[in-house]
């Protein structure tokens, strides 16, 4: 490999020599490769969080001319007394509870099935098809399913009303738009979206299991279910833990879907803590961003608490 570096730059060698100035330059040079990443990471991810934490202790309103005041925990106290905050957290949790099992179990099942396909071409075709939704950008998934679920002209209701006649035009299900079906419908869409990606995740995990483990178990007379439960499952536990915790995080903090499917109707199940935050920060009155900041911090802290709990529960034993 080294022969590809044909040219020699002897100048670079001299910079290696010691001396305080050279040392400092070396330290700076070492960080140069990380600098662009750090500028963006700190500027657009770390700083905003610190700034929002700061704002959450003030009565800052974006459109107001008056200076903001430091009001300590007043925003937090008000938010915690606001039924919308609690409704928002509960709605997000309700969605997560519906979404999480489906998005773990179905891909696991598919991965185990695809793992057994011995024809490489067939296996590749399966994986490519399953992964198609993963390369469709988020909003385009939502737009697609907004049509699928459309009350009048969506294909799902067309199937139920015109093809199977299970429902009539009057009582056909209203999948989206703030009905009780909205969150389950979005959960189904999300499972569909993540199906292939998570399957690939599990396939990678399955590929890492030494083949003699399940083989030995089978020779000992274990049934397929026993092989799965006692050999495959423990081996997949670390991947499953990462998936559960990461997906819990994304599910609790869903916002785009709710903006697109639900809007700002407070009675809608899609009005979760994220929408509550957005509504306060960019829609209502003078944009009470101090209050909105407190809402988002409460949501984030609640989420993190559960995630730590999940990490403890799913921690690999032994």
């Amino acid at each position: 490999m080294a022969q590809t570096v044909a040219a020699r730059d002897a100048d670079f060698e001299t910079a290696e020599s010691a001396g305080p100035l050279a040392q400092a330059r070396k330290g700076f040079g070492e960080w140069a490769f990380l600098a662009p990443a750090l500028i963006f990471f700190i500027g657009y991810q770390v700083w905003p969080i610190v700034r929002v934490l700061w704002l959450s202790f003030t009565d800052f309103q974006f459109l107001s001319d008056k200076p903001a005041h430091w009001i300590w925990f007043d925003n937090y106290a008000q938010a915690l007394h606001d039924p919308l905050m609690w409704a928002g957290l509960w709605r997000a949790a309700y969605f997560t509870i519906m979404f999480l099992p489906g998005t773990i179990i179905l891909p696991l099942l598919l991965a185990i099935l695809i793992d057994r396909v011995s024809n490489p071409l067939t296996a590749t075709v399966y994986r490519v098809i399953l992964l198609i939704p993963a390369v469709i950008p988020s909003t385009l998934i939502f737009v697609l399913w907004k049509w699928m679920y459309n009350y009048q002209s969506g294909p799902i209701n067309h199937l139920l009303v015109d093809t199977f006649g299970v429902f009539s035009l009057q009582n056909a299900p209203q999948w989206l738009g703030g009905t009780p079906l909205t969150l389950p419908s979005i959960a189904v869409m999300e499972v569909w979206w993540g199906l292939g990606y998570h399957t690939i995740f599990f396939l990678a995990g399955l590929a890492a299991i030494p083949q003699d483990l399940p083989d030995a178990a089978r020779i000992d007379g274990a049934s397929e279910w026993q092989v799965f439960w006692h050999v495959t499952r423990p081996q997949l536990a670390p991947i499953m833990m990462i998936l559960v915790v990461l997906r819990f995080g994304t599910a609790m903090a869903v916002i785009d879907e709710y903006l697109i499917f639900g809007g700002f109707n407070r009675a809608s199940p899609t009005y979760t803590w994220t929408i509550f935050m957005y509504d306060q920060a960019f829609k209502l009155g003078l944009w009470r961003q101090g209050y909105a900041a407190a809402i988002s911090m409460i949501g984030a802290i609640a989420m993190m608490a559960v995630m730590v709990l999940l990490l403890r529960i799913f921690r690999p034993r032994g």
């Binding site: 396909v117 490489p120 990678a204 920060a281």
Partner: protein, 294 residues
């Protein structure tokens, strides 16, 4: 050609020489294909919708009685802002993908082969950020920053926050890719007199190609479909990106009649799927080598 079998794949060899009792069953294929159909059907429905005649579109039958291929031309001619919106999305996405990839390659290389003192702290912060709802919490402050920079209602301004959409993932992918490059190779290149930048470009980069494919795709998907920042930071129809326009379009009559909407959808969604189908071999390799270990 893209589906040719992949010998170096991690799956190859397993299951073939091993015991046959673990082979696939007809029921297994049936279940897999059921899900395949569930995945493909909605997409085929949109594709067909985009070439249906208007009466067929109203009727809702899956297969149209009469095809009408004029919708594609119509949407470009009659929806005034559409070409602009499409162009906005193209350049914002292209810039985001290229800049993020460059940043991630540099950072991934540095984290493995330069290791400045304190790099461990950076790495820990990157990992922690994966578990924090950064996107939601940071929104208020990002709006403030963009306002301060005078970038509200400037499409190009979206590039800055878009770079961070998948930056952490991209860095972590590149990091695990560079971990596969032995230290000795980097060292010997350096002994030969190459600086870090040259070593990275001539020795490192060719060895992390697959990871590069992964982060190209991941960042493309993120930027091409971004909604939250696009709708919050831009408030002018002509400056908006495609996802925001599509999400707001109410299907029905006139310019946004269902087939027109479907045509726009197909135009927007196809490039990604085609690119992925061609790159899938490298993508899966990269995914197995690096992406799934982070």
């Amino acid at each position: 050609m893209t589906l040719e079998l992949d010998q170096s794949d991690a799956r190859a060899g397993k299951g073939q020489d091993a015991g046959d009792q673990s082979g696939s069953t007809p029921v297994g294929h049936l279940v897999i294909n059921f899900f395949n159909v569930v995945i493909i059907l909605p997409l085929v429905w949109v594709l067909l919708m985009s070439v249906k005649s208007l009466p067929d579109a109203m009727q809702g039958n899956f297969w149209p009685k009469r095809f009408d291929f004029t919708h594609y031309a119509y949407v470009f001619q009659r929806i005034a802002t559409l070409p602009v919106n499409l162009f906005n999305s193209v350049y914002v996405t292209a810039a985001t993908v290229l800049i993020t990839a460059a940043i991630a390659v540099l950072a991934g290389y540095a984290l493995v082969h330069i290791r400045p003192r304190g790099a461990g702290v950076v790495l820990a912060m990157l990992f922690v950020s994966l578990y924090f709802p950064v996107r939601v919490v940071s929104l208020i402050s990002i709006y403030e920053t963009q306002h301060w920079l005078g970038l509200i209602n400037h499409t190009a301004g979206l590039i800055l926050p878009y770079i961070t959409l998948q930056l952490v993932i991209s860095i972590l992918v590149m990091r695990s890719m560079f971990q596969l490059v032995p230290h000795e190779i980097i060292e010997s290149a350096k002994i030969d007199g190459a600086g870090h930048l040259r070593t990275l470009w001539e020795v490192g980069l060719p060895m992390v190609r697959n990871g590069l494919v992964v982060i190209f795709i991941v960042n493309f998907v993120a930027a091409w479909g971004e909604y939250l920042l696009g709708v919050t930071l831009i408030d002018d129809e002509a400056k908006r990106t495609m996802p925001v326009v599509l999400a707001a379009a109410q299907g029905g009559q006139g310019q946004w009649a269902w087939p027109n909407l479907a045509a726009v959808y197909v135009i927007v969604v196809t490039p990604g799927i085609i690119a992925f189908t061609f790159a899938q071999k490298l993508f899966f390799k990269g995914l197995l080598e690096g992406a799934l270990k982070g």
